[in-house]
């Protein structure tokens, strides 16, 4: 599969997808800096606030700023804008203390306001995406949550891929009894619809786990459900490749089997594997989101997009009144679409014969 930068630039959708993914993953890496607030910072006076960024006011002119809101109704959480009170939004503002990657001390963020500084008592915090029912900044939560949601995808996919390569490769290479056993195993796992199997496995495990354990657990469960289909495909390919000369040569040199598998056969399949990974990641991300949405994955206060949807977006009435709570859903959509479009483009590159817009002989003129 020969891909080149030029070819990527030619296809705007694929290029857009790569850009979106790069931006999101970078944002995830530097979320401590990019997010204005700590995700667990409770702004008690500002719960269920809509996004409050505005760009113009007569007081401060053009520029990002926040208008003060005051609470009208405790029950319906209706807010009213306070005339004439604006806070400027600054770049590189000092805010919550959030150690970068857990250990580098950091309290400067990409943007913020003077809220909380004693020098500006009337300053308001800026919530680009509003707040949730506990008064936590949605944008910050989405950014921190992306750490779990986005990485589970990759960790899961690689674990699944490893298992698939191991089992599929051994099955294809050795054939015979091992092949039969492993294939039957795969068929069993594939037989049960994914979500049911995931729920079942989840039910076997205890309810009370901290977020680190949950993370590992979800990854393991998702990988367990995901590896068989890839394994079958790999096994077929290994079956075909092992008859080729370069494998016979390696055998003659007394290379150990696993080495043959991983150093010779696997590189042959690299384009298919890359494709499999690209198209698999969104599935895993979705899997975690669904699990968390069902309350069986990451739970509050640990943040992931799924847990945010679970917390805020399950009640239809709250969705209707506070639609910004659905923000993690849109991020999820962006990531899923981006991976799928990218995978589609990679598939086009790998196998031009597969092109959907294929030539077809037809009477001309």
């Amino acid at each position: 599969m020969k891909t080149s930068w030029k070819q990527l630039v030619r296809r705007p959708i694929a290029l857009g997808s790569v850009v979106v993914l790069v931006v999101l993953y970078l944002a995830m890496t530097f979320c401590e800096f990019l997010a204005p607030y700590d995700p667990n910072h409770l702004f008690q006076d500002y719960s269920e606030l809509p996004p409050n960024l505005s760009w113009y006011s007569s007081e401060l002119g053009f520029g990002p700023q926040v208008q003060s809101m005051s609470l009208l109704n405790e029950v319906t959480r209706q807010y009213a804008r306070v005339k004439g009170e604006y806070t400027q939004v600054r770049l590189l503002a000092t805010g919550d203390k959030t150690p970068m990657w857990g250990f580098l001390p950091l309290s400067v963020h990409l943007f913020g306001t003077d809220f909380g500084h004693d020098s500006s008592p009337k300053a308001q915090p800026v919530f680009l995406l509003g707040t949730d029912s506990l008064g936590r900044d949605i944008l910050s939560r989405v950014l921190y949550g992306s750490r779990i949601s986005l990485t589970i995808g990759f960790v899961g996919v690689f674990l699944s891929l490893f298992l698939a390569l191991l089992f599929g490769g051994l099955a294809g290479y050795f054939g015979g009894v091992w092949d039969w056993i492993i294939m039957r195993l795969c068929e069993f796992i594939i037989l049960i619809p994914g979500l049911y199997l995931i729920l079942f496995l989840r039910s076997l495990l205890s309810d009370h786990m901290d977020s680190g354990q949950s993370y590992m657990l979800i990854t393991v469960i998702l990988s367990f459900v995901g590896w068989p289909s890839t394994a079958r495909m790999i096994r077929g390919m290994v079956h075909a490749y092992k008859r080729q000369d370069f494998v016979a040569n390696a055998r003659l040199e007394s290379m150990p089997t696993l080495a043959i598998l991983f150093r010779h056969i696997v590189p042959q399949m690299s384009s298919i594997l890359i494709l499999s990974v690209t198209l698999g990641v969104p599935g895993f991300i979705l899997g975690e989101t669904v699990l968390s949405y069902l309350g069986l994955g990451i739970v509050d206060p640990a943040v992931s997009w799924g847990s945010m949807i679970n917390r805020d977006a399950t009640s239809v009435s709250s969705m209707v009144h506070f639609p910004w709570l659905f923000a993690p859903g849109f991020f999820l959509l962006a990531v899923t679409l981006a991976f799928n479009f990218l995978g589609e483009w990679l598939r086009d590159m790998a196998d031009p014969n597969w092109k959907p817009a294929a030539r077809r002989p037809r009477v001309k003129r």
């Binding site: 030539r359 077809r360 002989p361 037809r362 009477v363 001309k364 003129r365």
Partner: protein
């Protein structure tokens, strides 16, 4: 030699050019081909892959797709294909022009029995054909192509036949609507040598019996020679040489023709001391056409303007034509 009797050729191609567009690239597969096939005549077309021989045949049958742009004229029995709409062209395929193809085992709908396939073929042009009539005619066609037990085999599926038998069936199907012209695009290339000989014999027999105008395409000159009265040599989308079979082979004027004939595998060569004569180099890439004669990079006689200027097709006595700056002069 040729039984050409009527003035209007069965098939006439005038300055045909075919360009395929794939995205931004345009490939000119056929660069100006002109020839005629008279009634009852067997014309052979020989050339390497990419020489434009198949594309010419497909153009003659009106089978090219939307990505192909045709210039020039194709006349079937005097009628210009360009002036016909899609439906009119469709009605020509079968009753006037028929075609057989290279891979018989892939040229059948796998889920239809022979009987149904024949019925469909008849009904495509005579919708009122009854099943009994179709059976009768199918059996007689299958017998014509020497398929034993024809009646019983009508109920079989394509995957139950061997390649050679399927080719016979394909020939039978192509004759179902009594065409005047039969185009054969490498029909024996995918078959065993012994079967090849049988099919070639069959084609010759059918051509003579039915008075067909046969166009036989192959990359193998010997095969072409067995079936044809007259031979056209294609290279790089152009005709390099044309002439009656015997004089073309005994006295080739174009270096390519001579090289082709010399490079054939002769009987007994397995045990002989003679080395295989090969034509060095690669066939031209249609995406990067040579400015001069397409054969120049591989020609042993290349000189002077060969590389810069394309020679024209010159008519030579004896019904011969050749396109070369430095042709071989015969005895």
């Amino acid at each position: 030699m040729s039984n050409a009797s009527s003035v209007v050729p069965a098939l006439e191609v005038k300055d045909l050019r075919v360009t395929f567009s794939a995205g931004e690239t345009a490939i000119q597969a056929v660069r100006g081909i002109s020839f005629s096939v008279f009634r009852g005549e067997a014309v052979g077309i020989v050339g390497e892959s990419g020489s434009g021989k198949s594309v010419t045949a497909w153009a003659a049958a009106g089978l090219l797709g939307n990505d192909a742009t045709l210039e020039g004229t194709v006349l079937v029995d005097g009628v210009d294909l360009a002036g016909l709409d899609a439906e009119a062209r469709r009605s020509l395929r079968g009753p006037k022009v028929a075609m057989i193809f290279q891979e018989p085992s892939r040229s059948f709908d796998p889920i239809m029995t022979l009987e149904k396939t024949f019925l469909e073929t008849f009904r495509a042009h005579k919708p009122q054909t009854t099943k009994e009539e179709a059976r009768r005619r199918a059996v007689s066609l299958l017998e014509e192509v020497h398929i034993a037990d024809a009646e019983a085999r009508l109920g079989s599926f394509p995957h139950q036949f061997s390649g050679g038998m399927l080719q016979r069936v394909m020939i039978a199907l192509s004759l179902a609507n009594d065409p005047e012209i039969l185009l054969c695009d490498e029909p024996t290339t995918a078959l065993d040598v012994t079967i090849q000989a049988q099919i070639l014999g069959l084609l010759r027999e059918l051509q003579l019996r039915r008075g067909l105008s046969l166009v036989f395409i192959s990359h193998d000159l010997e095969t072409v020679a067995e079936v044809s009265d007259r031979i056209l040599v294609f290279y790089g989308g152009l005709i390099m040489e044309e002439g009656p079979k015997s004089s073309l082979l005994s006295d080739p004027r174009h270096p390519y023709t001579k090289a082709l004939w010399d490079s054939r595998v002769k009987r007994g060569s397995h045990y002989s001391a003679d080395a295989l004569v090969l034509i060095g180099g690669q066939p031209p890439d249609p995406q990067i056409p040579e400015p001069g004669c397409p054969f120049a990079p591989r020609c042993s006689r290349v000189a002077g303007q060969c590389r810069t200027t394309l020679p024209g097709l010159t008519v030579v006595p004896g019904g011969r034509k050749r396109r070369c700056w430095f042709p071989l002069e015969g005895p």
